[in-house]
C-alpha cells in the first residue's frame, strides 16, 4: 500500500482543492457541522405556520424563540418566503413601534444551543475555536443590524453587526467570531451558547461589535431597531454556526432528521391516546420519539376522565394517571424541555 504525503492538493488552476470522485473533500462534506437546529425554519410543531404574538416569549417555529419587553409589539410567523434553495423563513413584524428603547428593553429572535452540541468548541479555554455564523436575512429597513453570542449566565457577550444593503431583498451574511477564552461556557444539557438576533435594544444591552466583553449585550451599538418602525419586517432563514473561519455551504438535513432533533426539546402528539387499566384506575403511556433534553413539562388539550388526572414523566415517556376511572383518553399531549 502506498501513502500520499503532500502539503496541498489543488485543481488544475492551482487555486481550489481538487475533487475526488466528484466530491470536494472539505468541511462542506461534514455532517453535523451546523450547530443550529431547524436552521431553515421548516419545523413548526406548535403553530403550523400561524402567527404568534411575541410579547413575553413565543416559539414561532421549533427551537427559535422570539421575545420582547419593550413598549412596542411584534408578531412572528413561519412563512413561505425564502431565498433560492429554501422554502421557509421566519417573519417578524412590528405591530406597535417603540422608537425610544430604554435601559435593558430588548426585542430578540434567538436560539439557545445545548452545551453538548458545542462542547468541542472549547469556549472558556485557551483552545477556544473560531466560529463562523452565516444566514440569509431580508428587511424592509436598511442599515446596520446585528445580534450577539452569549454564554448561559449572560456575562460574556460578543455583539456582531451586519448591513442590510437593500430593502426587501434577501441577502446572505457571514460573520466570523473568535472563540472566547474567558468566562464559563456550559458543556452539558444546559445552555452552551445563546445566539441572538437583535430587533432592537436599550442602551444597557448595546455593545461594541466585534469584541468580547463581560456584559449582557444583545445587539451592536448603532443598530437600526426593527421594533422602532411600525410595520417594519425582518425575515431570516438558513442560519449556520460552525467551527472555522469560513462559511461553508448550508448543511442540508432530511426533514425527518430535523424533526427528531427538534423533538429533543419539544414534542406535540396528534389525536387521542387511550388508556390501559390499572388496579386503582387507568394509565395512558406515551413513549416519546426521542429522549428529551430534560424531564419535560407536560400538558394536554383535553381528557375524558371524570376527575383530575396526574402525570408522571421521564425524559422518554409521559404517563397520565386517572385514579377515578377504569378507562379514559388524552388528546393533544405535549412535552416541553426547551432551553
Amino acid at each position: 500500500m502506498s501513502t500520499i504525503a503532500v502539503n496541498a492538493i489543488t485543481d488544475a488552476s492551482g487555486g481550489n482543492t481538487a475533487s475526488i470522485n466528484g466530491a470536494t473533500p472539505t468541511t462542506d462534506n461534514t455532517m453535523g457541522r451546523n450547530r443550529i437546529i431547524n436552521s431553515d425554519m421548516r419545523i413548526d410543531q406548535r403553530n403550523a405556520g400561524a402567527s404568534v404574538v411575541v410579547g413575553s416569549g413565543a416559539f414561532p417555529v421549533d427551537r427559535w424563540f422570539a421575545v420582547e419587553d419593550t413598549d412596542g409589539a411584534m408578531t412572528a410567523e413561519q412563512v413561505e418566503d425564502a431565498p433560492t434553495g429554501f422554502i421557509n423563513s421566519v417573519k417578524l413584524t412590528t405591530t406597535t413601534a417603540d422608537s425610544s428603547l430604554t435601559t435593558t428593553q430588548t426585542a430578540q429572535f434567538m436560539q439557545n444551543i445545548e452545551g453538548f452540541n458545542v462542547s468541542d468548541l472549547g469556549f472558556g479555554s485557551a483552545s477556544a475555536q473560531t466560529v463562523t455564523l452565516s444566514f440569509w436575512v431580508k428587511s424592509s429597513l436598511t442599515g446596520t443590524m446585528g445580534g450577539s453570542v452569549r454564554n448561559d449566565s449572560a456575562n460574556r457577550s460578543y455583539p456582531f453587526s451586519y448591513t442590510i444593503s437593500n430593502p426587501n431583498t434577501w441577502e446572505q451574511k457571514s460573520i466570523t467570531i473568535p472563540g472566547d477564552t474567558s468566562g464559563t461556557w456550559l458543556t452539558n444539557n444546559s445552555i452552551g451558547i445563546r445566539l441572538v438576533f437583535s430587533l432592537g435594544c436599550g442602551p444597557s444591552r448595546l455593545g461594541t461589535a466585534g469584541a468580547w466583553n463581560a456584559n449582557n449585550n444583545t445587539g451592536p451599538t448603532g443598530e437600526v431597531p426593527v421594533i422602532g418602525t411600525l410595520n417594519a419586517t425582518w425575515y431570516i432563514t438558513g442560519v449556520q454556526l460552525e467551527a472555522g473561519s469560513v462559511a461553508t455551504s448550508f448543511e442540508r438535513r432530511h426533514y425527518g432528521q430535523e424533526l427528531v432533533l427538534c423533538q429533543r426539546y419539544y414534542w406535540a402528539g396528534s389525536g387521542s391516546y387511550y388508556s390501559s387499566m390499572y388496579s386503582a384506575g387507568a394509565f395512558v403511556y406515551i413513549d416519546l420519539p426521542v429522549t428529551m433534553r430534560a424531564i419535560p413539562t407536560a400538558t394536554y388539550q383535553s381528557e375524558t376522565g371524570s376527575g383530575s388526572i396526574s402525570l408522571y414523566t421521564t425524559s422518554g415517556r409521559l404517563q397520565y394517571l386517572d385514579s377515578d376511572d377504569t378507562t379514559f383518553s388524552v388528546t393533544g399531549p405535549k412535552a416541553d424541555a426547551e432551553l
Binding site: 386503582a280 433534553r293 424531564i295 419535560p296 413539562t297 400538558t299 396526574s310 394517571l321 416541553d336 424541555a337
Partner: protein, 54 residues
Amino acid sequence: MYKLLNDPINGGQAQCIKRLADNAFIPFDPANTDYQEYLKWLAEGNTPEPADEV
C-alpha cells in the same frame, strides 16, 4: 400561580407541580426550565396552593 399535587400511587406529594395558567405538569428536574422558573417564583416569597385533600 402553582398548585402542589398528591401522588395517588405512592402517597405523599407528587414529584411535579401544576402550573395553573395552562395546567402544565412541571417535573422537579433541575434541568427543566419551567422548574427553574418555579424555584425563582418561590425564592421571591410566593407560596403554591396546597394539594387537594385525599
